[in-house]
């Protein structure tokens, strides 16, 4: 026992020495790195990312460029995506130190709330001064999407995929050919009609390939609740709260779950469930990526456009499959082309209003957006070491080396007029990709914008109702969208529970705020 006691004591003593030594050492380490490099200010930049290999090697090279160009250092901090929103909100609420951070209006990151609170620096005057190129390259309408009270609070990361959205469906090419499905007929059909056309195709394909799955269902994603554009609707405020508008009647806020389309959608999914077109556990399954990687889906939702009718020469694959593998796809789009209300705040970078180096931070963004070599270094690594183009000219990351996990859209604009910021394949496919992106960029300038653009819903007057309705929706939507319950029985019950939870108050409040906002705009 003596031994045990002395062990405990010595461990404690040792630890107290460590602990005592820890605090000052920590300080000197943050100060030390700055003083070693001619006292350059260090900018911390928070973003979400999975672990990255060889991170230090790339950051050292990147900092050589950054310190030479703007006289600062970048300290990029990666936070796991599932904890990012909570962590950033906590840092903001507690006044912690940070300079730049990825921000958005989805997934709990709360851009508008934080901007209204004064957490983000007002960039209205700084942008044209310190980031002129970034400012001019992005369509004017997108800047409106990151304004609160007419002040810009974030820098939009304009993505190579453009801002205008046009959704559709993709089908396994080999199965389309095998069954003779008239996929082109789906073009521009309302989604209900499209699904009714796809149904028989799924049946034919599954008869020949019973091991496959017709359509993807999961507990995270509902083709209805998560994707208003498919239903010619648009969310007013946060998508998860009831209260959307129909784009053909954009003045009236409606409860999207009371629409005829939702009833029809749940019926179709129930039918598909009974016929075995979708997974039996679709209401609870979280991760469908193994199914996707195995190329099991016959048809799927598709966000990419122009489709195969507009550009037939495109070489596309089903989600998470190789473009030259067996699961190649034919895509067709069926919704309208619109820049959604949240387009500006889909991906943006905010600067901390308490930061000591706000100007430097804006300069850093400009550098990331204009110095293509720097951007490619951080988002792709070094050519030949971290990635290569194989003999067919296809971009191939080298396994086990630096990999930014395709999160390039968080730290800057991935679109560039010269196509020098993204890894295009050095072959015909790459050329087509550039062509389609040029087409998207041109469309972005003329596409209609959502009538809700710029409107921010303040949920505080109906907080309880929002919480209650969200809980009901979270419980029922996955089951209804996956077809695992009978909509004839469950849908009326769901609507009744929403009513009890106070959905009408939310709709009324949304309508009132929306009307007031529209009046003020005129």
């Amino acid at each position: 026992m003596k031994k045990f006691a002395s062990l405990l004591l010595s461990v404690t003593l040792l630890l107290s020495i460590f602990l005592a030594g820890c605090t000052p050492k920590d300080k000197s380490s943050t100060g030390g790195s700055a003083s070693g490099d001619d006292k350059l200010p260090e900018l911390t930049f928070y973003m979400m990312n999975s672990p990255v290999n060889d991170f230090d090697r790339i950051m050292k090279k990147a900092n050589d460029i950054i310190s030479k160009e703007i006289g600062a250092k970048l300290n990029l901090i990666m936070v796991d995506s599932s904890t990012y929103a909570d962590k950033m909100n906590l840092m903001i609420n507690s006044g912690d130190d940070w300079d730049l951070a990825f921000t958005a209006s989805w997934g709990g990151i709360n851009f508008f709330e934080n901007a209204a609170k004064g957490a983000y620096a007002d960039l209205t005057d700084l942008l044209p001064k310190y980031a002129p190129e970034t400012y001019s390259r992005i369509p004017e309408g997108l800047w409106d999407g990151v304004k609160v009270d007419n002040k810009i609070y974030a820098m939009v990361n304009y993505q190579q995929w453009g801002s205008a959205k046009r959704n559709g469906f993709g089908f396994r090419k080999d199965l389309v050919e095998e069954t003779g499905f008239d996929w082109q007929a789906v073009k521009d059909k309302p989604t209900i009609e499209a699904l009714e056309m796809i149904g028989p195709f799924l049946g034919d394909a599954l008869k020949k390939h019973p091991e496959m799955i017709g359509f993807e269902t999961s507990s995270n994603y509902s083709l209805f609740a998560n994707d208003p554009l498919y239903w010619n609707m648009e969310a007013v405020g946060d998508m998860s709260i009831p209260g959307w508008i129909n784009l053909d009647n954009p003045d009236k806020v409606i409860n999207q779950y009371e629409t005829e389309d939702f009833a029809k959608f749940t019926k179709i999914m129930r039918d598909w469930y009974n016929k075995g077109y979708v997974r039996k556990d679709g209401a609870t399954v979280k991760d469908t990526s193994p199914d996707r990687k195995a190329g099991k889906f016959v048809a799927e939702k598709v966000y990419s456009w122009p489709d195969h009718i507009d550009y037939p020469s495109q070489n596309l694959a089903m989600s998470m499959n190789d473009r030259d593998g067996k699961a190649t796809a034919l895509t067709v789009s069926n919704t309208r082309t619109m820049i959604p209300a949240g387009a500006g705040s889909t991906a943006a970078i905010a600067v901390n209003s308490e930061s000591k180096n706000i100007e430097k931070a804006v300069q850093l963004i400009e550098l990331l957006n204009t110095n293509d070599d720097l951007y490619k270094l951080i988002t792709l690594g070094e050519e030949g070491i971290d990635y290569k183009y194989n003999e067919d000219g296809v971009y191939t990351p080298i396994e086990g080396k630096y990999n930014f996990n395709f999160n390039e859209w968080q730290i800057g604009q991935s679109y560039s007029p010269t196509f020098n910021r993204a890894p295009y394949d050095k072959n015909e496919g790459g050329e087509t990709a550039k062509e389609t992106q040029k087409f998207i960029y041109e469309t972005d300038k003329t596409a209609e914008t959502s009538p809700v653009t710029g409107f921010v819903f303040d949920p505080s007057p109906v907080k309880t109702q929002v919480a209650n309705c969200s809980a009901v929706a979270a419980e029922m939507i996955p089951a209804l969208s996956a077809g695992s319950v009978d909509p004839d029985k469950v849908l009326p019950d769901f609507l009744k529970r929403l009513k009890t939870a106070g959905v009408d108050d939310i709709i009324k409040e949304k309508q009132a705020q929306y009307d007031a906002w529209k009046k003020a705009k005129k």
Binding site: M1, F4, A5, L8, V11, T12, L15, C22, T23, D26, K27, S50, P51, V52, N53, I77, V79, D80, S81, S82, T83, D86, L90, M91, N93, S94, D96, A104, W106, G107, Q159, W161, K165, E211, S218, S219, N220, Y221, N226, D227, K286, D287, S289, P290, D291, K293, A294, Y303, S304, S319, M320, T346, A347, G400, N403, F406, N407, E408, W409, S414
Partner: protein
């Protein structure tokens, strides 16, 4: 003979517990089996209790350094061992002092220990304290210090120390033993069951803690195992439900570790801790009744 012993009620009872045990053990076996299954078969064939094609690729991937699992293992073990020892030492010393009649104001002190159960500051003040006052953000100590004292454990320990007769301690003092020596050589050896019970709770708490890391740890090489596991499991759901934000997101989901690798991480995460139970069981049964009877 045997038949007569097995009457109906006994059989039902056994069946019930067998079913229950199976319900606990089968998922575990499934996880282990998935972690050893060839990835391709996993996609095509689904889950099986016995892998159709045996493969250690998942473990090779996990240990290849891509997920920095080994490092995380080191962090977790360090935090668990040092954290548990410190927790036990501090809890024992604190609750011993609180039971000694020689200590003045011990009722006030006890109340001070108990107060946070009723009112606590909440997350934001805690965050401010740890990051801006103590400057513990992104150090390994934040993982340990947050759980150093738990009111419940102090109360359990206090109740246990009450059962040690005062006369024992007094006689030690008469024989010339100092306070520290009495504590370490007489009181602590008598408290082994209590220490083992609390130790087990604390070890598991430290081992399973990922919340602290998600809030305070930023350097990849200080991330504990459970944090990696947690993010492996949650990232997919988060990214999938927000996939409208960028078409790059789909590629990002594709970069996440495969099913097999996730299960291998699971197996590694439960591995060592599961061995603790049989080792501590004999103390555990004794310890369970601690605090049940007040004298």
């Amino acid at each position: 003979m045997i038949l007569r012993k097995l009457n109906l009620s006994k059989i039902t009872l056994h069946l019930m517990f067998i079913t229950m045990s199976l319900a606990f053990i089968l998922p575990l076996i499934l996880v282990v089996s998935i972690s050893f299954t060839n990835e391709k078969w996993l996609m095509l064939d689904g889950y099986r209790f016995w892998p159709k094609e045996f493969s250690t690729a998942a473990y090779q991937y996990v240990f290849s350094g891509a997920g920095s699992i080994l490092n995380a293992y080191g962090v977790t073990i360090f935090v668990t061992v040092v954290g548990t020892l410190l927790h036990l030492l501090i809890t024992a010393m604190l609750s011993y002092s609180l039971t000694r009649p020689e200590v003045k104001h011990r009722r006030a002190l006890t109340f001070f220990v108990y107060l946070p159960v009723l009112f606590n500051g909440g997350l934001v003040p805690q965050y401010i304290l740890l990051t801006q006052v103590l400057h513990l953000k992104d150090t390994i100590w934040v993982l340990i210090i947050v759980y150093l004292v738990s009111t419940v454990n102090v109360l359990i320990m206090k109740n246990f120390f009450r059962t040690i007769p005062d006369s024992l301690i007094e006689s030690a003092r008469m024989d010339g033993s100092g306070e520290i020596r009495t504590f370490f050589q007489i009181v602590l050896p008598l408290s082994k069951p209590a220490l083992a019970t609390i130790g087990l709770f604390v070890t598991i708490a430290y081992w399973n803690d990922w919340m602290t890391a998600s809030l305070y740890i930023e350097s990849p090489n200080l991330r504990p195992l459970q944090y990696l596991l947690q993010s492996l499991m949650n990232n997919i759901g988060y990214l999938q439900s927000n996939a409208q934000a960028s078409q790059s997101m789909e590629a990002a989901i594709g970069m996440l570790p495969s099913e097999g690798a996730r299960m291998a991480t699971c197996v590694l995460a439960i591995g060592p801790i599961i061995l603790l139970y049989p080792l501590l069981q004999k103390y555990f049964e004794k310890g369970l009744t601690i605090g049940a009877v007040k004298e």
